[in-house]
């Protein structure tokens, strides 16, 4: 492939379809960063003076929870799955902590929320890994279960009242010097862990192997069910952490707070070049995807369009980007 690109188009390698295809296939970060820069320029043109270090900080702050949830989707999509329960799990976690602040305190609340999330992930993982339920169905069903329990919890806790703890508000919405959001304190270690875990550990390679060819992975001795159970627990824990940040960012504790994030998180992972069929992709692209979607939201609101237009554009972009990747990655 690459040989023909070099010989066939020595004069202008950037104008050939094959060169673009190779770019999307091998180095998706380059077009993604280009698209991001283009969107930032567009925001600057639409609202002169809007693009500033402070604006960049606000964008980053809004993108961090989305990027973490996109991590859930990236990891699960690598194995050929998807996690549609991230919205419910994230909302539940933020909400549980908010109800426990005044009583047992924030640390206890965080522990309870993480344990609850891990339990949800465990059940999902057992369903997907052991019983071979389609991940889509399993996580959709799980989101119903989690939402229902969160609602029951809400009724139990109605007299204690809720309050987002100050620590979450500081983490989720605080900024250093008005530029660097505090949530990077959580996000940078998490992102490093995911990137290193995918690239450098055996577990990361197992995820790719199972997604790429489950039969070959099984014949090479990979125990898919163990990998999947751990994967969905990790995904639920990531969603819970994102839920803490979202509660801090919005200063709201509600059982449907993070439902909004489910499609954008899938969209960010898809834009980042992770294939839902499994075995292809990575987390770096998903972070870029989360930033692109957040800047796009900013652009849409700068243009004065309604929420409905944002939904339509998000959907259209996901289909368009996924189509480009599908073209670029299939040999024809």
């Amino acid at each position: 492939m690459s040989g023909s690109v070099r010989t066939g188009s020595t004069r202008n390698p950037w104008l050939t379809w094959a060169a673009w295809r190779g770019l999307f296939r091998d180095r998706p970060m380059i077009p993604l960063v280009g698209l991001l820069a283009l969107l930032v320029v567009a925001v600057g043109l639409v609202r002169p003076g809007m693009v500033s270090p402070g604006w960049a900080g606000v964008i980053m702050r809004a993108a961090v929870p989305l990027a973490i949830l996109a991590g859930c989707q990236t990891l699960t999509m690598l194995t050929g799955g998807i996690d549609l329960s991230v919205g419910a799990v994230a909302s539940m976690s933020g909400f549980v902590v908010a109800t426990l602040v005044s009583g047992p305190g924030t640390p206890a609340g965080i522990v309870v929320a993480l344990v609850a999330a891990a339990l949800a992930g465990l059940v999902t993982g057992i369903g997907v890994g052991v019983f071979r339920v389609h991940p889509l169905i399993m996580t959709l069903g799980m989101s119903l279960v989690v939402l229902g329990f969160a609602n029951v919890w809400q009724l139990q806790m109605v007299q204690t009242g809720t309050g987002v703890p100050g620590e979450f508000r500081w983490l989720g919405s605080g900024m250093v010097l008005g530029i660097l959001p505090n949530s990077l304190l959580i996000f940078i270690p998490l992102a490093a862990l995911i990137l290193l875990g995918l690239g450098r550990t055996g577990y990361g390679r197992l995820l790719y192997a199972i997604g790429d060819n489950p039969v070959a992975a099984r014949l090479s001795g990979a125990r898919a069910w163990q990998v999947l159970v751990i994967l969905y627990i990790i995904s639920a824990l990531l969603a819970a952490i994102a839920g803490f940040l979202i509660a801090g960012l919005t200063n709201i504790a509600a059982v449907t707070l993070a439902d909004w994030y489910v499609l954008p998180s899938v969209a960010a992972a898809v834009i980042g070049g992770t294939s839902i069929m499994g075995g292809r992709g990575g987390y770096g692209g998903a972070i870029a995807g989360a930033l692109i979607l957040t800047v796009l939201t900013s652009l849409i609101s700068a243009l004065g369009f309604a929420e409905a237009v944002r939904q339509i554009l998000f959907g259209a972009i996901v289909v368009a980007v996924a189509a480009v990747y599908a073209r670029a990655t299939t040999e024809s």
Binding site: F131, M138, L144, V145, A306, V318
Partner: protein
């Protein structure tokens, strides 16, 4: 292919054997019907006054769900899935409600025909995108669910609009006996008029063929792409019918998608349609919808917290799929 052999077998057999063969081929549906009967008996037991009004309410609430389940079943049989059915129903419902508000009764006919055509078009867009872009159907339809929901919000900001009188009369109330709600009759007529001819046509056979083994279907001369798009178009038609039934039963249009996508997947799985495609029909999913709806009613009667009812529905969905895949695992091993 098993369809044709079954047909040959039954043509020769005696009626009793035919019945036995039907029961054997539709064991899951028969089991579901048995469960439904038990559930109805249980309902009568805990709520002795459950009767005409209960059945009427059940039929009205089942109609949009059943149409959504039939729509989903058609796509799933063809080996796909559509996560935008709820949004399509919202969009078609608000379009109908906006166009019918304050208009004379006769123009409602034009609106209904137009909305059904819109449903066909929405389905064609979904199917066309799935086939042409080669992006997995889950991604395309999940994204399109947001596109259609956004369009619904553009058409109507808040619940409103209206419905023609005759459209409401089509599904509200009862026909002849009080025990025969119009909504149930409408459902039977719609499914009989659209699904049965499709099922018996060459397209119906292709639908099952591409769902059960796409490569084999392609090699036997089935136009896979065209059949998949047709399945989505048919799905769009049923989603539009579901949207119309929403407008008719509530008298207004609501731009926010209801839980129909999730419920349709649940009902399809409960109804014995394999998510791998190629297996099942639309009768099972309809029974599944009725069962899910009765369970919800029973829980309300029993004073169960509605939120716990949501939990129960989630567990039923997961449990049914788990049992289903366990059975398949057993069969594939044996």
């Amino acid at each position: 292919m098993s369809v044709t052999t079954a047909a040959v077998d039954t043509a020769r057999a005696r009626p009793a054997d035919m019945l036995a063969a039907w029961v054997r081929n539709n064991a899951w549906t028969v089991g579901l019907l048995g469960f439904l009967a038990l559930l109805l008996a249980f309902t009568k037991l805990i709520l002795p006054s459950y009767g005409v009004t209960g059945v009427q309410g059940l039929a009205i609430s089942v109609l949009p769900l059943a149409l959504a389940a039939v729509a989903q079943a058609i796509v799933v049989i063809s080996g796909g899935i559509d996560l935008s059915i709820g949004s399509m129903m919202a969009l078609t419902s608000v379009v109908a409600a906006v166009l019918m508000k304050g208009q004379p009764e006769e123009s409602g006919v034009v609106v209904v025909v137009g909305v059904l055509l819109l449903g066909l078009a929405l389905g064609a867009v979904n199917g066309g995108l799935v086939v042409l872009t080669r992006v997995p159907d889950i991604v395309v339809t999940l994204a399109m669910s947001f596109v259609w929901a956004g369009c619904a919000l553009l058409v109507l900001q808040a619940p409103g609009g209206g419905s023609a009188r005759w459209l409401k009369d089509l599904i509200l109330g009862s026909l002849g006996s009080e025990w025969v709600p119009k909504a149930a009759v409408a459902l039977v007529i719609i499914v009989a008029l659209i699904w049965i001819p499709v099922r018996r046509s060459q397209f119906g056979l292709s639908l099952y063929a591409i769902g059960s083994n796409r490569l084999a279907a392609f090699r036997s001369g089935v136009s896979v792409g065209r059949t998949r798009i047709s399945a989505y178009i048919l799905m769009g038609l049923f989603a539009a019918l579901g949207g119309l039934s929403l407008t008719a039963s509530t008298g207004i249009g609501t731009p926010v998608p209801g839980p129909y996508t999730l419920m349709s997947v649940a009902a399809v799985v409960l109804g014995g349609v394999s998510l791998a495609g190629g297996r099942g029909g639309v009768f099972g999913p309809i029974v599944g919808v009725v069962i899910l709806q009765i369970i919800r009613t029973d829980m309300t009667f029993l004073g169960v917290d509605p939120n716990l009812a949501v939990v129960a529905q989630g567990f039923i969905l997961i449990g049914v799929v788990m049992v289903g895949s366990l059975i398949q695992l057993r069969q594939s091993r044996a």
